[in-house]
């Protein structure tokens, strides 16, 4: 319990919210912090390990988990005490350490057409954009919006940049972008309004792999700058753009 109780950003007790007749939302705090997300991660692991009857899906998010359950088997009145008891034992649960993924990125040039705008907006050089963006270890708070799209925390304040005034109709897969205080990677080609600063040859979502998803909520991610030559070698013409 200590690990949770000492972190005053977490609620003392999880807060339950009803999400219809087959969804239960469990909130652990009301901010985006690594500490609250750590509780989310531990609870997700605890729920999966406990294999609670009737639980069909556990969806971890920034500061909550959504439990999708089978109403023929269980109900919030049965799930809530179970979750409270798991919460009480979280300190004793040893979730596996977060996995760190290194995402190679070719910054600027044809792959990052907006990098000069991001630099100018923040009154720094393009080299500073690359250094500041490739420096942190970003927590992956959740995945969503499109398959495998990571919602990352921890973007340097010196890189915050508003979205494009008019979104592009097609952003190539692998594009790395910035929108306000967020940074992320487009797993598939899609329309998008983020400022593009680079592109990765790594596929975050690939149906040819046994696990199509490279990233998981609760893990961490770093960006590593590569040259255009390295990008082309890695992509091998296979990147969907």
């Amino acid at each position: 319990m200590e690990a949770v109780a000492v972190n005053r950003q977490c609620f003392d007790q999880p807060k339950f919210r009803l999400a219809g007749d087959r969804g239960l939302l469990v909130e652990f705090g009301d901010a985006i912090t690594p500490e609250i997300n750590q509780t989310v991660r531990a609870m997700t692991f605890a729920l999966e390990t406990a294999a609670v009857p009737g639980v069909r899906e556990v969806i971890p998010t920034y500061r909550s988990v959504v439990i999708v359950y089978d109403p023929l088997t269980t109900a919030p009145s049965r799930l809530e005490p179970r979750i409270l008891s798991l919460f009480g034992g979280l300190a004793r649960i040893e979730a596996p350490p977060p996995k760190e993924s290194v995402i190679p990125v070719c910054y600027g040039g044809e792959y990052g057409p907006d990098i000069a705008f991001v630099a100018a907006h923040n009154r720094i050089g393009i080299d500073d954009v690359i250094r500041l963006h490739a420096e942190p270890r970003y927590p992956i708070y959740m995945l969503g919006f499109s398959p495998g799209f990571p919602f990352l925390g921890g973007l340097s304040e010196k890189l915050h940049t508003p979205r494009l005034t008019s979104p592009r109709t097609r952003v190539p897969a692998g594009s790395v972008g910035i929108a306000n205080n967020q940074t992320g990677i487009y797993p598939i080609a899609s329309p998008g309004g983020w400022q593009l600063i680079g592109r990765s040859p790594v596929r975050l979502f690939d149906l040819e792999r046994p696990n199509p998803f490279l990233l998981s909520a609760g893990d961490t991610l770093r960006f590593e700058p590569i040259t255009p030559d390295e990008y082309r070698r890695c992509a091998g013409g296979g990147q969907d753009d």
Binding site: L18, G23, I32
Partner: protein, 350 residues
């Protein structure tokens, strides 16, 4: 694998769907699947398919298909004109077809989505354990997209010698232009006070912006408590969640949405999502508050109703005919809150 249909014209928006893709939302993949799983499940039952089989979901207007091999088909859901070689046939019953036939489905007279099932089910590759098409990410279904003229569909292997079956007329749902949806307040009902009264008392109109992601409504503005934040930290969206964006006009989230940051005043119960699936732009919707226990009772009723319809389907045609010749069953109001109980009662009393 047998080639079964060549698409002559695709209809407005025709996709391959099964019950959905579950367990992947944490990776950003929405469930997808047949939006009216009630009508879709019955279409599969009619042609003798397991409930996991894939079928075609038709939207507002249906396709014209050239039949390439003998099969049994059935159309359920929206009331769409339906013909084989230009001769009208009825929905909600099995229809045998042979190679060379042309199946045509026209525009919906009531309801919005039709379900065309073929014996053994449409065969497209399983993607993350489902055949459902999610057009947003171009996965599942036929090449991840709605059907186009010239596409060639296959069915899964297996015998197609199914008995003639039909759904008793009294069990065919009506799709009225005014519907009531039962909803459980939350997850963010505490962000509203007077707004909850407006939500549960007013009529809303379905806007033209209604698709598989969400159904936008127009009506009186639902305002939040002024002191509460206008948005929340993004969290998963589940089908039925009613999100209230800044303009105060509700959006019923459906099966192709994974996350959202708007507050959700209430959630339509899963047993009523099919009514949203069948609502057309211009139709009117009101919401009725329901508690968790009552919602779960409705869920159980709907599950057992499907089981009982399945039981009915397995009856030989003769026995069904004798039922139809029996006393005329009471007219069924599909919007009555206790409709399912009445149906079950009817099934056992008639």
């Amino acid at each position: 694998m047998t080639d079964i249909f060549e698409v002559l014209s695709p209809g407005a928006y025709t996709t391959v769907q099964d019950l959905g893709r579950f367990g992947w939302q944490r990776f950003g993949v929405p469930p997808s699947g047949m939006l009216d799983d009630f009508a879709g499940s019955i279409a599969n039952m009619l042609v003798g398919n397991p409930n996991t089989a894939a079928l075609l979901e038709l939207t507002v207007s249906g396709p014209a298909l050239k039949v390439l091999a003998p099969a049994t088909i059935a159309l359920t859901g929206a009331d769409m004109s339906f013909s084989i070689n230009a001769a009208p046939v009825s929905g909600w019953r099995t229809v045998p077809v042979k190679a060379g036939d042309t199946v045509s489905v026209g525009t919906a007279k009531s309801g919005c989505r039709g379900y065309l099932a073929v014996s053994q089910g449409i065969d497209v590759p399983l993607v993350m354990d489902s055949r459902s098409c999610y057009v947003g990410a171009a996965i599942g279904g036929f090449k991840g997209r709605p059907l186009q003229a010239g596409d060639c569909l296959r069915r899964c292997p297996g015998a197609i010698d199914h008995p003639a079956r039909r759904v008793p007329e009294a069990l065919v749902p009506a799709y009225p232009a005014e519907i009531t949806l039962r909803a459980i307040p939350g997850p963010q009902d505490d962000f509203f006070d007077h707004g909850l009264d407006v939500f549960f008392n007013a009529w809303f109109t379905v806007s033209p912006q209604a698709d598989r992601m969400g159904c936008r409504l127009q009506g009186p503005v639902i305002s939040q408590i002024a002191a509460m934040p206008q948005s929340i930290i993004s969290e998963p969206s589940l089908p039925g969640g009613v999100q209230i964006p800044q303009d105060g006009q509700p959006i019923i989230l459906l099966c192709e949405q994974t996350v959202g940051g708007y507050t959700k005043i209430a959630t339509v119960i899963s047993s009523d999502i099919w009514r949203v699936a069948q609502a057309l732009p211009g139709d009117r919707i009101r919401f009725e508050r329901i508690g968790m226990d009552a919602a779960h009772a409705v869920f159980r009723s709907q599950a057992s109703l499907l089981e009982r319809i399945r039981h009915e389907m397995n009856l030989p045609e003769a026995e069904q005919r004798s039922r139809r010749d029996g006393p005329n069953p009471v007219a069924i109001d599909w919007n009555a809150p206790d409709v399912l109980d009445k149906l079950i009662h009817w099934l056992y009393q008639t």
